[in-house]
Structure formats: structure tokens, C-alpha cells
Subunit: 392 residues, 2 copies
């Protein structure tokens, strides 16, 4: 194991009707002027936005509302939010939505924290943030874990770059999680969300730092449970208990808990970010389409972990050779993805990039990585090309 | 499952040599005058206290040092700390030690937060705290989880009352956890610590609120791992990886994670607090001595949970009847406690209370509970008498 810092200051307020606590929770932060930020009009239609504005009114807190965030959220919308925030002296960003809305809200909060600087510099890793306004969230999609994480991923829709910036100062001050908000989500989005949770844990699990037994035990339990929960929700989407399990698992999968004491890989995520930038695919589904090829390409470099994953997470029988055990584990995950309607390659994802496009994806990914990518097997551009081609 | 709030703002700085970060971490809090609080002279002899004071000196932070906290920490020492803090305009309490030192530090922080009020009123549940100075910790014993929890347990050594007060405002601002500090602990203390972690999770596991599958999965994984780790450390106390697993498990077992979505029992803890108040036993060992009797007394009221515990945590074979499965699970835990040198009744703990003493223990416990105790089977004074006698 390696030394680590675990820091999750977000107050998580979880359960039915918790949205009605938003006014009190904002007031506790001391905020006077809130930017209420959302994506889909679904949260307007369901009355959630008016619940929020009514609660803020009741506490005498000013607000301005900005909607229209899209999946793979755009830098232009972030800039719009920053300008709106400046004009209204906003001192807290309240994200109402899923990972895209929260990531976009974090970007706005960075922009307003240092209003004289260009926020995109952070995502290009040209500087570190010194200030950030407080962000709070009302989560409506269980997937990205942004409601408790330090991560934010933004797409520059002009250049097609999808880039991540992680910083603890952007961890939300509070997050409201009412699983009922997720009950009406389309199945594809729910299953993509569950895949994202699996992948957030797997990126940390495939480590070469020796790991910690207690972290492994928790991560394995979480992954087994997410697969159970996904299968339940695939058949019974209105099951509140399963919705609650999925929602809480999403936060725990990406708050750092499942990576304590390990180094992390993240290659599949960065490979997927390029797909998201070029083709606007759903993040979780994009991860499912790439992971099996990544796993087959890198596993020989991190054999013990892949065997452990096969036995303890996918619960396959031990095979005559480690190689066969690993392959059985990868196949079991593919079977699971198929069972819940997820793709296991890019064709099933609905995209068929040309050789030229793959070269561009790999070129951009290698540039974003800024060096060999991942720890299970550090990847150079030529490795990335091979993985994309295997996944085609 | 039931609604819950999960709030763990403590920055956990974990691993080798992390004690050298204490000056920087205190400085980040903005504190100017620190009360360095410790218990055993072991932390002086090992040089840890001088490492701390040197680091504070280097950052230009004033400090005053107070040692002498004992297990089942005394109210008189808390009052001494409060007076010393007042005299030195202290604005942060740095606990260097285990649960007793941290609990005592939280009590001092409450006392200094509201200097005109008697701190013992909190522990008698006569009022709620409105203010509390920041507490930080350098942990040297893996057990109580106080380094990340909202709990504090203090013994009024004049009346013999051992009382708990829980409040989120006392959660530490940061905690430094270097597993190397625990390597030289006596085996009995290490095993009592592991028992305390088990019990912190079990108190939450035996819930009647329907529970959450994801919380159960994590709690079960944690308990299985703590048992594995305890067995390793019982034979190989200098194993760093196992020391690290135990230390981190201690924090996770009591920060709230293993109780998300459940109500909690806590009867065994309150029954043990009375033993601690009257006989000054080691907390974890006291819990081990009481739990089997509590379990046999209450299990018929919460059968499904006890069966699940037997199968998923103790991993016993399913027996012809639920009753037999439950009993097999309890016996397996008793076997584990024996294997690591822990008692399973009060005689093995080294105390043999008379009927009169048991009546006094139950009387005091019922008074502290202020109503039926626990959720698995709510206990009245007469139930407590029976459990104490079963455990004798």
C-alpha cells in the first residue's frame, strides 16, 4: 500500500423528500446569492426547480437560474455561467442534475473563484486552482459520483477536447440525494450509470502499488453489489431500495474510498474521454465498450490483480491457468454488460471510427495524458491505437 | 432503509512519516495556539511529542502540553484541560494518542467553545453543544474510531458514570494516521481494538429498519477483513500492512459508513459503559465479554439479521433451523474472540460482579438510556439484569 489522503467533506443528505431541506442547507453555508444550474428540462417539468426556488425565497436568499447543460458538458455553457454569476454576485453554485451539471457547476465555481483567469487553463493542466466558490448539489442521476468527488470533466466543443480537472477545493459543501428522482430515468441511462460506478472502482482496483486488503474488500463488495443492483433495476426500474443502493454506490465509488492505499489506472477513462469528445457517446456505455479490450491488452502486466478480480468480483471458478482465469473474468463482465444492455465494443456502442479517426483519438489521448498512461501497463500512443482497434 | 445524513469532514492523512506534516496541517486551520494533549508517556519516550512541538515551533504556532489522560478518561482531566486552555487562549486541541485522548480532547474543545457552561451537562444530555473548538488528532491506537467520528465518551470518576455525547461539530478537522505507531502496542490492546471495530460495525448491523444492501455489503466485508487482520496481528504484530488495515478499518467502522440507511442498536456499548465506569475494564474486551449474552437474549426479535450475520460475516454453514444457524454464528464469533485472546464473559474478563453490583449496573444503564435501550430488542432494566447475569 502507499500513503494516502482521504478527504470527503461533503454533507450527504440522503433519502425521500430531502429536497425540501435545500433552503436550510444553503442558509447554513452563509450564501446570499445562488446560481441554480441545471441541464434537462425534466427537472423543471417535475417541479424540482420550483421547489428549490421556493425554498430559497423562503430563506430570503437571492438566486438566478441557468439551464441547458448537455451530456459531455460544453465549455461555452461554463463561460455563460461564469458571466451570469459575475453579473449577479453569485456566491454559491447549486447544481440540480447529474454528473454533467455538477461538473459544469464546478467549472463555473472555479471561474468565479478566480474571475480574472481563463478557467480552461485548469482543464489543460496549465495551472492549479487557488480559489473556488462553494458548490452544492441536488443529484438526479446515479452515475458519475461528482456529488462527492473532486472531479470535473468538461468538453471544449470547438476543439473536441474532453478534459478532466480534479481538485479537493471543488468538493461540494452538501449534496441532496433523493433516489425517487432517478426512478423515471431511461434504462440505458441507468445502466450506463451503474457501469460508470463499476469503472470508477475498477480504475482504482487495477493498481500496481500492492493495494490494501481492507480497500480491496470494500471495493469488491461494492462492485458485486452494483452488479446485483443493476440487474434488479434493469427489470424493475421503480424499485426504491435498489435505486437507493445505486445512488449511494455511485457516491462511494468515486469519493476516494475504493482507492485508499492504491495507485490508480484511469487509462480506460481517458481513452473514453476521447470518444466522448469526438462522438458524444454516453460516458458509462463508452467505458463498457472499451474496457474488455483494455483488459485483454494490459492484463499480462498485472496478472495477480486480474486473477483476484476474476475470482472475487466476477466470482468465476479458478481455471487451470491464470491466463484462463483472467479471460473467464473478462468474459463474465462482458456477459454482465450484455445482460444489462451495455455494449462491449464500439460497434455495439454505435460508432465505427476509421483508422484515421483512431489515430486522432490516440494522438489526443496521448497528449492529454502527457506521458505513459495508466499504471497496470503504461500506455503510449501506439498502445492506444491497438486498444481502440481491438475495441472496434 | 431510512433517510440518513453522512458527514465526515475530517481530512485523513494516512501512512508512514505523516506525523511530520502536523505543522503544515495545523497552520492550514489558521490556529495560533494549540493544546497538545496526550495520555501515556509512551508518546513522549518515542519522541512523537517532541516531533509535534518542533513542527509547531517551525510554523511559529504557540502551544501548551498536557499529558496524563487515562483509559476511560476522567472528567477531572477534561476540566484541567479546559482551565489550561483558557489560561493560554488555546484555539485548537491536538490529541496525540488513542480513543481516550481524542474523546477527552473533544470534551475540552466543547468546554472551551462554551466556557461559561459546565461541559458535563452535554454528557448528561441536558443540552446540545452550540460551539466547539477545532480538534485534530495524531492517532497511536487503532480501535475507537474517534479520529473520524462525532463521538466522545467520558467517565465522571466521582460518580462512576461513563457517558457518551455525539455531535458532528466535534468531528476532527484532520487526523494523522501512521500505522507504525501501533506496532509496539501490547497484543491485548491490539485485539481489544479489533474487537471495538467489530462491535462498532455490529451495533449498526443489528438494525430493524430494513437496512440497505450496499451498506450491508460494505459492513460485512469490513467485519470479515477485521477478523482476518486481527488473526494476522495476533501472530505477527509488526506486520505493517496488517497494522495499516486495522488502523483504517477502525476509522471506517465508526465514521458512519457502516450505518448508512439503518437504525442502530448500541445496547452492548451502553451495557459495557457501565462496566467501564465501575471496573475500569478495557473497552473492547468489555464488549467481547457482553455481546454473546446480549445476542442470545435478543436474537429472536431480529432473526433475519442474526441469520444474515451468521452466514455472511461468520460464514457458517446454514443449519436445519434458523435458531441453529444463529447459534452457530454466535459460537463462531466466540471462537474468534478466544482465538485472539479476548473474553466471552465477565469471568474471563476478570470481574465477577455480585447481584447487588449487577442491579446497580442495570439501574445506571437504564438511567443513561433514558428509555428502552436498543432496536434489535428494546431493553428495560430487568432485561439488562438478565443479560449481565447471563454474561457473568
Amino acid at each position: 500500500m502507499i500513503n494516502f489522503v482521504y478527504y470527503t467533506p461533503t454533507k450527504m443528505v440522503f433519502g425521500k423528500d430531502t429536497q425540501y431541506e435545500v433552503g436550510k442547507l444553503v442558509k447554513e453555508t452563509g450564501a446570499k446569492s445562488v446560481l441554480v444550474h441545471y441541464g434537462s428540462e425534466r427537472v423543471v417539468r417535475t417541479g424540482l426547480i420550483s421547489t428549490v426556488t421556493k425554498a430559497l425565497d423562503e430563506e430570503g436568499i437571492k438566486y438566478v437560474v441557468l439551464g441547458g447543460v448537455v451530456p459531455n458538458p460544453h465549455l461555452s455553457k461554463v463561460r455563460e455561467g461564469i458571466e451570469l454569476g459575475k453579473a449577479n454576485n453569485v456566491d454559491l453554485i447549486l447544481a440540480v442534475g447529474g454528473g454533467s451539471v455538477i461538473d459544469s457547476s464546478k467549472a463555473i465555481a472555479y471561474g468565479l473563484g478566480e474571475p480574472d483567469k481563463d478557467v480552461w487553463e485548469l482543464y489543460r493542466h496549465e495551472r492549479k486552482a487557488k480559489k473556488c466558490l462553494p458548490v452544492a448539489t441536488i443529484l438526479t442521476i446515479a452515475a458519475a459520483g461528482s456529488e462527492m468527488s473532486n472531479s470535473s470533466v468538461i468538453t471544449n466543443e470547438v476543439t473536441g477536447e474532453k478534459r478532466a480537472y480534479d481538485d479537493d477545493i471543488a468538493r461540494p459543501v452538501f449534496s441532496i440525494l433523493n433516489p425517487e428522482f432517478t426512478v423515471t430515468l431511461p434504462d440505458y441511462q441507468t445502466m450506463s450509470g451503474c457501469t460508470d460506478m463499476m469503472m470508477h472502482t475498477m480504475e482504482r482496483y487495477f493498481s500496481t502499488a500492492g493495494n490494501m486488503e481492507i480497500t480491496d474488500a470494500i471495493a469488491e463488495a461494492l462492485m458485486r453489489q452494483v452488479m446485483k443492483t443493476a440487474k434488479i433495476l434493469h427489470k424493475d426500474p421503480t424499485n426504491y431500495e435498489a435505486r437507493a443502493d445505486a445512488m449511494w454506490a455511485g457516491s462511494l465509488a468515486h469519493n476516494g474510498l475504493t482507492g485508499c492505499g492504491t495507485n490508480s489506472d484511469w487509462a480506460t477513462h481517458l481513452l473514453e474521454h476521447e470518444l466522448g469528445g469526438m462522438f458524444d457517446v454516453t460516458h458509462g456505455a463508452g467505458l463498457a465498450a472499451l474496457w474488455p479490450s483494455w483488459a485483454r491488452y494490459v492484463h499480462d502486466n498485472d496478472m495477480d490483480r486480474f486473477v483476484k478480480f476474476a475470482l472475487n468480483v466476477m466470482e468465476v471458478e479458478k481455471q487451470p491457468t491464470d491466463e484462463e482465469t483472467v479471460e473467464a473474468g473478462i468474459r463474465a463482465l462482458e456477459d454482465f454488460y450484455h445482460e444489462i444492455g451495455m455494449p462491449i465494443n464500439m460497434k455495439e456502442l454505435g460508432i465505427e471510427p476509421t483508422d484515421e479517426q483512431i489515430d486522432k483519438l490516440a494522438e489526443s489521448c496521448a497528449k492529454a495524458a502527457g506521458g505513459p498512461l495508466g499504471c497496470a501497463k503504461p500506455l503510449l500512443k501506439e498502445d492506444m491505437v491497438k486498444i481502440y482497434k481491438m475495441a472496434r
